[in-house]
């Protein structure tokens, strides 16, 4: 519980980090951790990714930009897409393991395993006007892990 206090928005996570896991009912709108841990590529996109990339993956621009994933030529490389999801880039959070985070910061992080990262990348590469035929496996994602398992 290191440094949980340092942050203006600390607090109920002390409670929520653990106890929500034991809530009996699977909540439809907000997937509890145990359900999220087995969510499909489509569910992950709809519950996590579309918060920034938007429901139809068209992206959005304000003072900065969330890039569109729809008709996205950069997705030609499945490895590029998977590495972005795994390790993050600038304001794109890392969804792979972050061993540098503890306490409150760890609770802020959403951890997807290699199979889920493969699934969501396969999903975006075959939807929203993207028609890439090749797919990724969990093993392909495993090979992309950086030597230190978090962002530089």
């Amino acid at each position: 519980m290191k440094r949980t206090a340092r942050c203006g928005i600390i607090a109920a996570m002390l409670l929520a980090a653990s106890a929500h896991a034991q809530s009996p009912a699977a909540d439809e709108a907000v997937l509890p951790p145990a359900v999220l841990a087995h969510a499909s590529g489509e569910q992950i996109f709809q519950h996590i990714c579309q918060g920034c990339h938007m429901p139809d993956a068209r992206g959005a621009t304000g003072a900065g930009t969330y890039p569109a994933l729809a008709k996205d030529a950069n997705l030609e490389s499945a490895a590029f897409a998977a590495a972005t999801v795994l390790s993050g880039r600038r304001d794109m959070p890392a969804f792979g393991p972050r061993t540098d985070l503890q306490g409150f910061e760890a609770m802020l992080h959403v951890d997807l395993d290699d199979a889920q990262i493969a699934a969501v990348v396969n999903y975006i590469r075959s939807h929203f006007g993207n028609h890439y035929a090749d797919t990724l496996s969990a093993a392909d994602v495993a090979a992309l892990h950086p030597p230190t398992p978090h962002k530089p």
Partner: protein, 535 residues
Amino acid sequence: MSDLSARFSPSRREVLRGIGLVAGGAAMYRAMTALGVTRGSKYTGPVDLSGAPRGASVLVLGAGLAGMTAAYELRNAGYRVQVLEYNARPGGRNWTLRGGDTYTELGGERQHCEFDKGLYLNPGPWRIPYHHENLLHYCRELGVALEPFVQVNYNAYLHSPAAFGGKPQRYRSYKADYQGMVAEQLAKVVGQGALDKEFDKQDREMLLESLREWGYLDGQLRYTRNDGTSDTRGYDKDPGGGLSGKPVWSQPLSAKDVLNSQLWHALPIGDVYEFQTTLFQPVGGMGRIGEAFGRELGDLIRYNAKVTRIVQDEHGVSAHYEDAAHPGVTRQVRADWCLCTIPLSILGQIPMNVGSAMADAISAVSYAASVKIGLQFKRRFWEEDERIYGGITYTDLPIFTIGYPSTDFFSRGKGVLLGAYTWGASAFQFTAMSPAERVREAVRQGSQIHPQYANEFENGIAVAWHRVPFAMGCFGEWSDELRAKHYDNLCQIDGRIALAGEHASYLPAWQEGAITSALDAIGRLHQRAVAGAKS
């Protein structure tokens, strides 16, 4: 300490006060310059900026609290200052949504705030610890009225659908029972000789005595149903006067239920340094601080100016910007120095010729997710039915938080609750919903704690920080490891550019962090400017 008025002779001060009253701070400043009060007069702000080189200029990017603190002090010290701000208003994350406001999030969803007059949501900052001295200093200096913010309310709830059949527990009762449980068990093992090695007889007696007081134990060192425990955890019937006044004691929860409910996770929150009594909030909403700074700086701030490129050379810094409302035409401004307070979430995408150390630091930090939802109800049922006046209920439902207003107690009209304040996986998922879905979900979940929601709810507004066009996230998420590697490089001046803001502080997600980072950075920029002018 930087009270401007202390520096003037009375007659000039009177003239200026008159101008200030009639025309506001910016006009007053122009008048001050005309009267020769600022330039050359000794600067006495919170950082040493004395002896600003004549004509030196600073470009400030972003009119949040970091940018406006910097602009205010630099201007007072005699620098020529310009501020570029993306929004049409000052404050940045210091922001209040009031009835009549509209808010369009990234993706284009527009919400109209339908709250009654006087009711508001602070979508970002909402509380100020008493020891955030720099922020409180500016509140005093700019005339922002403060009132207490209730953090700990013993009569609010701790709740989990998985504990006590989903029945919310009063903080007061659960806390007493938790302490009683710990004290009773510890007293037991002391009695059994488990601590005989650590403590001599006198120490042990002292310990037992303190446990009796701290844990409300009876003569046999047990935590039981009696007047002492009821006077802590609350009565089933409160004591009163006359023949009907006899109290009814309440029954403590069982020790095992106290433990296994895990509600103890939330007990120490109010003991955290930042949450210790007394906390404050501006009367009328946190946004009053940004509004006051904005009034003070007047037309030094150019609004609707979206910075798209930052270029420095050996003589100065240029910022390219376009009209946020009508993109296309790019303009430029230039100054000797630049203080950039644009959040890293956005700055990482803006081309800027700094060295790789600073560039890597900017890229290393992503931003936390957080969502706040304000809900208006027809009446203040939490006060009328449940005697909850301010403070916070903590739950492990995805809404995490129900915050009760710390103001207008006992008023007859409507009221606005903070119906959700959530982070992590829960906040990412709330962000992925439409605003209407977020509000619906907050009402659905909250009614498990307050069944009155069903009849009393009227309207709501939801702010998901990753969808906020000017922030794209809640706050810069540092780890110790990232900090060790990048923090100093982020804060170090690169040529003629310095960065400031919440992200450049050891107080992430606090306004005090933004303000102190700005003061620190302008102090160092000033030294460079003075050194450069002498050479």
